[in-house]
Assembly symmetry: C2
Homo-oligomer: 373 residues x 2
């Protein structure tokens, strides 16, 4: 029984363990929050700081293989573990690149991966000096996710409210669709990419509203996006799973936005919609097993269950009975007892014989279900 | 977060917990073996005797709802819990009937459920006195499963080797196929039955070799079998999941063989082949949620991974890499570290676009994979 160490114990780790049960793994988790979603599902739950070198190093030493559900982790510890021959998947190089949006952009550029024009700044003063073309987007280099750490700068008047931290400044893309491709690469060097998913954001926000799977884009674009994702996996020498978020522009270009070196929110639906889920795929890669099939089984729409604004405290799922009565509704709760505004409490995947029927049901589900306290 | 108490913590409990994760349950397990498959997956793992009234009663008092992955449990404790208003699903009456093959047969007879002719004996002397027609089958009334506690008596000369325990003596059915229907009934009284699965036994043994889903039988027979299963669920006033094993005779009759009041070995394939798995279905019933869809997603063949005769000790899965490279192979290991001859160590579900392609792959998988030590 292999001891699989998972860095962080949130909902992605929870679904990773859930998939790992079938492979007979012994799950060990390092996580700063004692109440995190993995707390009762693993053989060993270690509360500790992911940025502390010694904590990560000692945790890594105690397991057979180390993997991740989160990219902000002490890199020096990973390098030491690798130097000692420990299996770390993905490796420290991938984690270093993925954990810094500036390094991501440099990697894309150096490897001929299409991406929006950008510059790197160390703080707000970099903006004042630069010859910028507006509108542009500021992304903090580290610690941003789910729309946090991203803001649009529409004109020079917005410079004073720019964050004064190391950032990527990027041409604002007038995109038609935002898509995501999950790609996996095993220890033998084989790659497999899932068909692209289409991300639909809440109006005016960067937070994912609904995810359509497969994306409603022409087959040629879908193939191009998948090819880019596989190329990235090869050039990173990835072992594991990588989410590649991309823009499809109005002129039909595919531009890589950012990557995450792990199972991802935009791949939840692979649990029901694909022969092998992204979680099972990550487990296979980490254990040195061959990749599973990424064939589409059923189209779906995925909805995040987000804490309703104005509610904080012990969670209630209003309308859940009616929703579960609906054909093809798959509930995934993350085991969080407390809700707060915009907190991700779970997700629902709605499968259908086609994407239209799943979409119709998803609208109804969204109208019925509220996460309150 | 509801505390769901599960009686016994074997592989069925393991897959029940795995499904329950998505519903945010807190899983509590009562199990006699400290090394059982659920040991690391639940919030609380209580080692105790399932036939001891006080043990079961105290365990039941500590949870919000009690359910089962095994039917041999102290019934008096269940009755006391019910009298105090505790939710026990299925209830003590169903558990009493299902836990005794004699009571099962009487229930079938009293309720007009078609079943093979039978008599009940208290021991071997009952056979010597009776006017038997051979061949017949002896089934011990309690504690038999997986072919244990079942033997054929071909002629009067076999009477001396009959077991001297309370038994059902049944006319030996010249069946064409053995099938199983999983049926679920929720707290609102709705029922849903999965399409029948076809059981193929090892030649000369009662142990399941391969399971074909759906069963390769005419639609009319399939509907008749499903109707019988739903009728049983209603007449038992079931809340939960029930497996109904049946014979299809050469003359096209459907006869109920036996029932199990829980998720069952003949329903493993519903994880991949159905919109809602039998495990998720049991969780929904137990939590008072509505039933999920039982629609077929993909046909499949299921194989149990059985410890190879001649091997005992720490388990090895020989050929697993090659098998996992095969399209549509879904591995489920039960987390047992030690193998022994005929021990159930896991199962594999092989999905295909049709049952023929799944069957071909299943033969190859069986030829490649060995459970040794």
């Amino acid at each position: 029984m292999k001891k699989v160490g998972i860095i962080k114990g949130g909902q992605l780790g929870r679904m990773l363990i859930q998939a790992g049960i079938d492979y007979g793994i012994s799950a060990h988790v390092l996580e700063p929050d004692a109440e995190a979603p993995c707390r009762d599902l693993c053989d060993r739950f270690v509360v500790g700081d992911l940025l502390d070198e010694e904590t990560v190093y000692q945790f890594g030493r105690s397991v057979d293989v180390l993997t991740f559900e989160f990219e902000h982790v002490n890199l020096r510890a990973l390098e030491r573990l690798e130097a000692e021959g420990k299996a770390v998947h993905p490796g420290s190089r991938v984690m270093a690149i993925a954990g810094d949006k500036g390094r991501q952009k440099e990697f894309f550029m150096q490897n001929g991966i299409p991406t929006a024009d950008f510059m790197l700044i160390t703080g707000r003063s970099g903006l004042e000096r630069a010859d910028l073309s507006f509108p542009c987007v500021q992304k903090t280099r580290t610690a941003g996710y789910d729309g946090r750490g991203v803001q649009a700068l529409e004109s020079p008047r917005d410079i004073p409210r720019a964050w004064d931290v190391p950032s990527v400044i990027e041409r604002k893309i007038d995109f038609e669709k935002e898509i995501s491709v999950i790609v996996a690469r095993d220890r033998f060097g084989s790659t497999a990419s899932y068909t692209p998913a289409e991300m639909s954001a809440y109006p005016g926000q960067y937070l994912l509203d609904r995810l359509f799977y497969p994306a409603r884009i022409p087959a040629a674009l879908s193939e191009r996006a998948s090819a880019i994702a596989r190329e990235l996996a090869v050039k990173l020498d990835l072992v594991g799973v990588l989410a590649v978020e991309m823009f499809v522009t109005r002129s039909g270009e595919v531009l890589v936005n950012e990557i995450a070196p792990r199972a991802h929110n935009t791949g939840h639906q692979t649990i029901e919609s694909s022969v092998t889920s992204q979680y099972a795929q990550q487990i296979r890669c980490v254990l040195g097993l061959p990749l599973g099939s990424v064939e589409l089984v059923r189209p779906s729409v995925m909805i995040n269950l987000i804490g309703e604004p104005g509610f904080e405290g012990p969670v209630k799922y209003v309308g859940i009975d009616e929703v579960l009565r609906t054909e093809g509704v798959h509930l995934h709760l993350y085991g969080k007892t407390l809700t707060r505004p915009y907190r991700k409490m779970g997700h629902i995947t709605i499968t259908g014989h086609n994407i239209q029927s799943a979409e119709e049901k998803s609208k109804w589900v969204q109208s019925q279900l509220k996460v309150t306290s």
